[in-house]
Symmetry: D4
Subunit: 159 residues, 8 copies
């Protein structure tokens, strides 16, 4: 992180963007008593440095009919297939997260599906990838926390 | 979902917002050959219906010094404590996701930390919550996929 | 079984009742070339001997909105509580089967629920019974076979 | 369920059939102060809608010499074989229930056998199906609850 | 057991033989106030019926340098190989017990070896049998009970 | 073992006793071309040294109605209770072997019972001992090898 | 590591010390064509920086009668006791390594003991520490690699 | 150990070398009131007997950038490959310990790496060895004890 010396102003800009990515730069400028141009330059700088990678819409998946969340642990026949299997998993849009993990699984995925039947189909898609030896599924009965904002604020308070 | 009849125009607006939440409504309007006011009304309607819940900044946690990701399975002494324990977990900003799950764990969390030492501290914070009986941790060696955009586009193609 | 000497006629009566419990005794009589009174006597005898315990309606639970099936393994604090816990489990109508088992679980249940949320409520009801230490749940993605008729026919061919 | 609008009368008919599938329609009619013809029409309608799928005889398997109950978890070499393996399992009459499951097993079965030796034979039949990789068995020491009537009554009270 | 009607005299003879298989028949006769010929006839009858299968020497394996006891769970590639693998296991004299089991293992063995190194050799012999997929070993730190006499006395008190 | 210098004659005597503990010493003497007195002295010496601890009757438990074999793994609340729990286990005659083990269990037992129901009673007796936290049972579907004679012969060939 | 700029000479000195900690500084000096004083200064500097923490004797534990190696996984009642339990484990000299770990165990130890009986005593010492809930032991049948020299050489080639 | 009769003087020499392998023999001689030549002879004798196998440098791996410790359990396709796989593991310098083990793993390794990413590379190296079927990793969050000196002193007090 040494190269990206974020100063107090950067932190305050980030703090505001975390709460609302669509906030106009003029609003940020007004609150921080700086010019909108400065806000623009600062944000641009953080984007160029790769710290801000973009923004993502937060939708209510329950209302969209995608209320089924499951975690799927994937065992591979051989870890040399990890990269290839991840590419194939990446083609399944219902997999929202996939990590290479330690412990019993080689790859660990989070999936979102419409219901039990759809979840079965998604799990079978993963199972059918060449190199996948077996999967184990754990179902989320209720997602209680899904919030990176607390983490983001903590990071910028911390630095 | 029956109440929120999203039409083709809504889908196209969502499709553009998914790719860039900061896109000006005038740009959306131009591309869809509708007025910016219409875009505004439509987005407002989807926000009021609770479909669009907000937007979230995508940061590069590695560059911010938070490159350590782990999944922590939590065993409770008794499931009647679930709600209370979740409230306490919610006070730990390094926990970004927490689900009530089936299978061996009662609660399953995703955490982000700076390094091994910090991860230990976060895990111990969870372990120290009253009602938590034991935890088991699985470490992510590499997060290869973390992308809801593919899912979002699929949902709107699907509807 | 030595006392209940079922003869060939009993087997044929059972074979017909297995396929349709509501078949009129006169139909059975006609097919077996015996009197309806004999059918009545034979069925009565098998009921008195406790071989026929009754009949049960086969409903389509999916159509009734109860499409969620799960298996719940129950760990007790102490097996001396088995009987008491089973009585309490018996008060939860969504538990359709419960066995005392060997292996890792003390009691193993099958539950039917409306959806994920309802399943969570049922599992929590079990978890909250005094003496229950922990539960583990395995979700049925699709029940492909649920049919005792094949077994019944085999038993009567076998005897 | 929207299409099958069951009214109060349907519920009361079902309630009586649940307790005794062989109850004459005239008895039901008398109790509900409606005509036997109406009962007939209502039951027919529920059968046509697929809600009532049939009825099944309840036998005392212990008295018939089939007192051994076990749960068998099946691991497949590959989930693409699920359908084929289920067809082969379906040919074994001693398997009374089989589900596609999440968690460690691909398929989960309930079997009834005469004794330990017979159970071994049944388990070996499953093990010998092409595509079955391994099985794990959990034995029921005592089946304490096997009763869908409580569930059925609850469903109709609930609707 | 119906054919082998053991009477009180048989039980008393067995009770004495259980404690000391080398006890002279004349001693048994004296204690039971019957003739030695009767003892001989009774024992012969129980041997012919297959109830008494022989006798076995009880040695102190620790003093003989075989103090290492382990339990080895065997996973097979396929249960159709069970019989063949058991024949091969039977050629390893250090395996004193082997059972076909339910649960996670296909075959479960008890072995006696001289020390850790020798145990490794015996486990590797089992591992090297064709059809054996994997083994898991649990080591006995101290064998506290190895005594069938209590069971035998209980059986004959019981009958 | 250094003190118990068994010579070739001792080994040959043991070899014969292993096959038949009731063989008369005169028969052993004849075969080895030594006097019966020598046989007696040698056996006495091995008994005094504690090498020969006695003999045990081999019964056919199946014919005696005790055909159910299970392995029971015992978890203790605390290993300081090991000795006490073993004393209590020792009072249950249906436990024929009990070892203090490494791995997941604290104590590992072998039990013999009449049938599934009786096995449940025996397992519950163990579960009810103070200090026992939980048990896990693995059922033997068929005991294929139970034979120490091969080991004994190997030991004496080996020395 | 930025402060401890080790140069090529430091690496060469370390390389020689890794192979033989008792090598005289004059020998090192001769080989590197520098003065013994320089060697002394460099080593002193690396000791002061805390890079070299000391040296340790490599003994043949088998020859010393300590040939039994086991890994002991420790479950705590509560992770808040970790520090206290580690202090108590530190008082047991037969524990040579202890780590706080992720996964199923809270603490993971390596022990060396004389034999099975001694190992049992050591494991019981750990089990008896207040706060220790349970332990699981895995026994090393043969330690094939125990060598940090390859790592050390790699580190200094690497830097 | 019978051949290597270590006397009190040997023990005292070892005790001093354990604390500091680089202590000059003249210092040892002075403290024990014996000649340096005697120290030299004794040490030489213990080296020839193979009791002292050498000495090893104790470095601060954290300061050298190798702060990541993990335990890797290795499952083999077949134990006959154990020797071959160990040779290949031996070529990976980041594996500092490897044991053939009982329990679920065939081989159990300790690795040291720079960070999570490097650990992944090392684990993949092990996974890619021919004959390795799967690995499971447990990460050390903090190594609290790594000290054989306590054991060494105990051994020499003990003898």
């Amino acid at each position: 992180m040494s190269k990206f010396r974020l100063d107090e102003v950067d932190h305050q800009i980030l703090d505001m963007l975390i709460d609302n990515t669509r906030i106009p730069f003029t609003d940020i400028a007004k609150k921080l008593l700086i010019s909108a141009g400065t806000v623009h330059v600062r944000v641009k700088k953080m984007e160029d440095a790769g710290i801000i990678m973009g923004s993502s819409l937060v939708l209510d998946y329950d209302k969209l009919g995608y209320s089924f969340i499951a975690y799927v642990g994937v065992f591979l026949n051989n870890t040399s297939q990890t990269k290839f299997v991840l590419q194939r998993i990446n083609e399944i849009p219902f997999v929202t997260v996939a990590s290479v993990t330690t412990g019993k699984f080689n790859i660990f995925c989070k999936i979102r599906a419409k219901d039990t039947k759809h979840a079965k189909d998604v799990i079978f898609m993963i199972d059918d990838i060449e190199g996948v030896y077996r999967t184990e599924t754990m179902i989320s009965l209720e997602e209680s926390i899904n919030d990176k904002k607390r983490l983001m604020h903590t990071i910028f308070k911390d630095i």
